[in-house]
């Protein structure tokens, strides 16, 4: 028996700690082919996929997730983790009288 690399349509739903993710980008790794999840986090990939294809799922503000297509996968459930980021803020501020050179005062 040879292992068959059968192509199949893959759908899925993208979730995060805040619930389904609307507008997550699902890209086939190494290509510019992708899908965007709907308001329920659902998507159907526009191209048939095969074993070992990798989907890269991202949304601004969350960790990116990767899902590898295996065996007979037709439905995937990527989960985007929260980013442990510390919010700090120092913007360059302009003086009333602008000195020469780099000005961040």
């Amino acid at each position: 028996m040879y292992a068959q690399s059968t192509e199949r349509t893959v759908a899925g739903v993208v979730n995060s700690i805040d619930g389904p993710v609307f507008g997550a980008t699902v890209m086939l790794k190494g290509t510019a082919i992708g899908a965007i999840s709907n308001e329920k986090g659902e998507f159907t990939f526009p191209q048939e996929l095969q074993e070992n294809d990798v989907l890269v799922v991202s949304y601004l503000g969350y960790e990116t997730d990767e899902v590898t297509i295996t065996g007979n996968t037709t439905f995937v459930k990527p989960f985007l983790e929260d980013i442990p980021i510390i919010i700090v803020g120092a913007l360059r501020v302009e003086d009333v009288v602008k000195p020469s050179g780099i000005n961040k005062n």
Partner: protein
């Protein structure tokens, strides 16, 4: 004789520093033009934006340049976010638990504002540069630390108030500050103005250290040859993106 040895030592160490002049044979005009071509693009499909910015460039430093230049010319600084952050950090500085709760909640507001309005503060700039670089297959880190503005000195700051980036290019780490490259806040109107400052792009580390003090001092990058920083990006997408027919 001692002076000559000292001079040689300085010349030697200076040449070890990772800085923009390492790439003096590269003309960034191509990368800048591509970034200009995509001016006004939205952040809703980041992988596609990164693909568009980088796919036709041939070196990592040019790919990074296109991302950096695009971020600095399309994301505005937001005085309101900066003010709120500053106030919360001052009010809650002796209450780490409340500060963590505030941070988790405010983080959502920061990312929403970035995504929908392309407005942010330094954390958002540093985050976006890292995220887009990672999508282009480049190692990039957010560095937190002190960045005194407004005539302040390092010692005037209680804690970290600023974030910037370290980017690994051709095996070496480099420093840059997209927030301060992007523009300035006009304090007479509390409004942001784009005013691109190129000197913060791959700035020579000893100059960078004059107004950037990282919490982890290894990120000063003043001793690149002894630098052992283990960073493994969680996701690394191939930088050679091709469109399948």
């Amino acid at each position: 004789m001692r002076h000559i040895i000292l001079l040689l030592f300085f010349i030697f160490t200076l040449s070890l520093y990772a800085q923009r002049s390492d790439f003096k044979e590269i003309n960034f005009q191509r990368a800048d033009n591509i970034a200009n071509q995509y001016k006004g693009e939205e952040l809703y499909n980041l992988p596609m934006l990164v693909h568009n910015l980088t796919a036709t460039l041939h070196t990592d430093v040019e790919r990074f340049r296109a991302i950096y230049y695009w971020v600095c010319h399309n994301i505005s600084g937001d005085y309101d976010l900066m003010y709120k952050t500053d106030r919360a950090r001052k009010n809650l500085k002796n209450d780490p638990e409340s500060l963590a709760v505030w941070n988790a909640k405010f983080k959502k507001e920061v990312f929403n504002r970035l995504r929908h309005k392309k407005e942010t503060l330094c954390t958002g700039y540093a985050y976006l540069v890292k995220e887009m670089s990672n999508l282009a297959g480049l190692e990039c880190e957010i560095i937190n630390g002190k960045g005194p503005t407004n005539k302040m000195k390092f010692e005037d700051l209680d804690g970290p108030n600023h974030s910037w980036n370290a980017i690994k290019l051709h095996g070496k780490w480099y420093l840059c500050d997209p927030t301060w490259s992007s523009g300035v806040i006009d304090m007479s109107a509390f409004l942001f103005e784009f005013n691109y400052e190129d000197t913060y792009f791959l700035m020579e580390p000893s100059t960078f250290a004059e107004d950037h003090q990282p919490l982890d001092t290894r990120w000063l990058l003043l001793a690149q040859d002894t630098l052992v920083i283990m960073t493994v990006p969680k996701v690394k997408v191939s930088s050679r993106v091709t469109i399948k027919q």
